[in-house]
């Protein structure tokens, strides 16, 4: 059937040998078509390749590598290979035998011989210290004295630092003596290993991250709700105005959208701080006393206000583009059929805006959940979000494994949300400006 059609359209095609269609040079038509298609596919792919390679190399790969850090655990394996081997027969209950301590001594001595840049005891000390405080001092002090140790090594080690007498240290060495670890995730969930190796909740005063995740989610939800509450009326108003006026008023939405993030954040500092515009105006008007100035910034209020302002355009723009497409005659029809304005709005208009609310809501939520700059500048202590904690571990405490674990959890959350968003509304509804 298809062959007959093709022959009608292209009479210059020749039917040869076993009755198959061929092109002028004798190749079968099907093969020639397939080749042409492959060539076009290849050409299209060739256009995409440079960017794809670039994004994979400089964006996807670095992030994958960072995620890998959250389970990568090379320090103990690299520093104590002989000790770990000797520990294989250890019962886990009593202090290890002299044999283990001799292996430990050999591992320490091996490190003494290495050039400074390749030494592994420093990273080991840092790594063990995450699991057991005081481990750092045990390792560094022992490193200084180890060259003078004489057998039996066990007593020498116990003399150098009392932590070597602690079964817990040995359990940590055995547990973390594997190339992969779950320890960073355990810590990121406010849990730790107890002395039997079970995962248990940390002491109340050392629980930080779960609470921070919850706070981040709650703050993002509050910001999303506020942008919705403020964005819905103005998007509606813009959508019922004649285009000329709507475009003019749109400037009020677009100007903040295009203004630098740091400019908008500093604007809120200027407005909200204790000596700022709002407080000074209130004092000048005699509404509050000079010592009664509100603290509206460097706390959660400041973060929420500033972020609502910064993210409001991301809610208004998708809402507006959806509302523009809703014919006003629907509302009139509902009213003419006897619906009260509130019923008409609730049952006819509002349901049609849901795609816009979904798009704007998820957009604002995704952006705010990973926000860093504004909470860092105006958040103070109570307005901190999870990104600030990631940045702190990256730059100050240098616990990169924990930063990677927190980052991976945040990233997975955002990707799941984005995936849901795509299922619900599709990326096509993302428009800028």
């Amino acid at each position: 059937m298809a062959q007959a059609d093709a022959a009608d359209i292209a009479p210059e095609m020749q039917t040869e040998r076993n009755g198959r269609l061929t092109t002028a040079d004798g190749t079968p038509l099907k093969a020639a078509l397939r080749r042409a298609e492959r060539r076009r596919k290849f050409a299209a792919f060739l256009l995409v390749t440079p960017l794809l390679a670039f994004i994979l190399a400089f964006f996807v790969f670095p992030i994958a590598q960072m995620m890998w850090r959250s389970v990568d655990n090379p320090q103990v394996v690299r520093a104590l290979p002989q000790t770990l081997e000797a520990l294989e027969d250890w019962d886990g209950e009593t202090l290890p035998s002299e044999e283990v301590f001799a292996a430990l001594h050999a591992d320490f001595m091996a490190d003494v011989g290495r050039p400074r840049a390749e030494q592994v005891m420093g990273p080991l000390a840092v790594r063990l210290n995450y699991e057991l405080s005081a481990a750092r001092s045990a390792i560094t002090r022992t490193s200084r004295q180890v060259a003078d140790f004489q057998p039996p090594y066990r007593d020498e080690f116990l003399d150098a630092h009392r932590l070597w007498d602690n079964i817990e240290l040995w359990r940590v060495i055995e547990r973390e003596g594997r190339p992969l670890t779950s320890a960073y995730y355990v810590a990121a969930l406010d849990r730790e290993f107890d002395s039997d190796g079970n995962i248990v909740l940390r002491d109340e005063n050392r629980r930080i991250y779960v609470q921070l995740f919850i706070r981040t989610i709650l703050m993002s939800a509050a910001i999303t709700f506020l942008t919705f509450a403020l964005g819905f009326p103005i998007a509606y108003y813009l959508s019922i105005l004649p285009t000329r006026y709507a475009n003019l008023l749109m400037i009020a939405v677009l100007l903040p959208f295009w203004t630098s993030l740091l400019v908008r954040t500093s604007a809120w500092i200027v407005l909200l701080q204790q000596q700022g515009v709002i407080n000074s105006a209130l004092v000048a008007m005699g509404i509050i006393g000079d010592d009664g100035r509100f603290s509206m910034i460097y706390n959660m209020t400041g973060t929420i206000v500033a972020m609502t302002h910064i993210l409001l355009p991301f809610m208004v723009l998708p809402l507006y583009s959806v509302m523009r497409t809703i014919p006003p005659s629907y509302l009139r029809a509902a009213k003419s059929l006897g619906a009260r304005p509130s019923t008409a709005f609730r049952r006819v208009y509002f349901p049609q805006t849901l795609p816009g609310i979904g798009a704007g809501g998820v957009l604002v939520f995704i952006i705010s959940i990973g926000y860093y700059i504004t909470p860092a500048l105006v958040g103070g202590q109570s307005g901190r979000m999870i990104s600030n904690e990631i940045a702190r571990h990256m730059q100050q405490s240098l616990n990169w494994g924990l930063a990677a674990a927190l980052g991976t959890m945040l990233l997975v959350g955002v990707l799941v949300l984005y995936w849901l968003f795509n299922r619900l509304v599709g990326t096509d509804s993302l428009k800028f400006g």
Partner: protein, 283 residues
């Protein structure tokens, strides 16, 4: 939309209340940005309106913060850095992004969904995560604290915008024009520069503008990847806010607001031109 003549009192009340609410929200959007402009002319180092300013006494106003800004080496260097990095990142992002958009909008493109997802990802992933990843990777390959590193990072962040805007322009693109050019004997390169490029140019330019703004306004990557030599305007503002917040920040901010107004106008003009070319709105 005016009130109909049969509106009840309740309708009228609601009509005006709604407008008051809307204008209050517009005020909330604009006021914080606009309030900085008069304050940047404050003669005193305060963040509030002085009595002299309120009475429009010329002594209450001065250009000292603008002098501070224009006379400071570090601010001037940050402006230069922002433009160097922004322009280089834009050129890279626009070139790669336009090529990729051309490929992605062809119907025979294989694995379109997956490739699109990878290319859009820099827009979705929280900046702190991108910054963390690049921080490790760039120091491993030795481009941490170099212009190259910041430019590559910013180009990666800018490409999704180029892809989205150029793909959107290509949706309305009439493919038969390319066939017509080819049938008249034009080579693919010639077809691209003579036919395709002029038609998709508004999309490319607005994509480039987005990429430039992304780089120009970006701070998280700069905080993690850039060295002291590559401090950009947002980076300088960041330390200005964190260390000693002086009204110089307001002078800088006012200049930046002026820049965004300019940008807003350019984008609006481009949008209108593009709609006219595609016949969406009559001339």
């Amino acid at each position: 939309m005016a009130l109909p003549s049969y509106a009840t009192t309740g309708d009228k009340i609601w009509y005006y209340t709604f407008r008051v609410i809307c204008f209050a929200i517009f005020f909330f959007l604009l006021a914080p940005i606009l309030v900085m402009i008069p304050l940047s002319f404050n003669a005193q180092p305060f963040f509030s309106f002085t009595r002299e300013m309120m009475t429009l006494n010329p002594d209450g106003y001065s250009l000292r913060w603008y002098q501070d800004f224009l006379g400071s080496d570090s601010w001037m260097r940050s402006i230069r850095n922002s433009f160097i990095i922004g322009i280089a990142a834009t050129v890279l992002a626009t070139t790669l992004g336009t090529l990729a958009a051309l490929g992605l909008s062809r119907s025979e493109m294989p694995f379109k969904g997956a490739i699109m997802a990878i290319m859009i990802s820099p827009m979705i992933v929280p900046l702190i995560i991108s910054a963390a990843g690049m921080f490790f990777f760039f120091s491993q390959i030795g481009i941490s604290g170099t212009y190259l590193g910041v430019v590559l990072a910013h180009a990666a962040l800018g490409t999704p915008f180029v892809i989205i805007t150029v793909t959107a322009t290509l949706v309305g693109f009439d493919q038969s024009l390319i066939r017509a050019a080819a049938s008249l004997g034009a080579s693919p390169t010639r077809t691209f520069f003579k036919i395709t490029m002029p038609l998709i140019l508004p999309g490319v330019i607005s994509g480039a503008l987005f990429a430039f703004i992304t780089s120009f306004d970006e701070i998280v990557i700069v905080l993690f990847v850039a060295g002291p030599e590559q401090r950009t305007i947002p980076r300088e503002m960041w330390s200005g806010i964190r260390e000693d917040i002086s009204p110089t920040i307001l002078a800088v901010a006012s200049v930046m607001v002026a820049l965004s107004v300019l940008l807003l106008v350019v984008i609006e003009l481009l949008r209108r031109r593009s709609e006219r070319l595609r016949g969406l709105t009559p001339g």
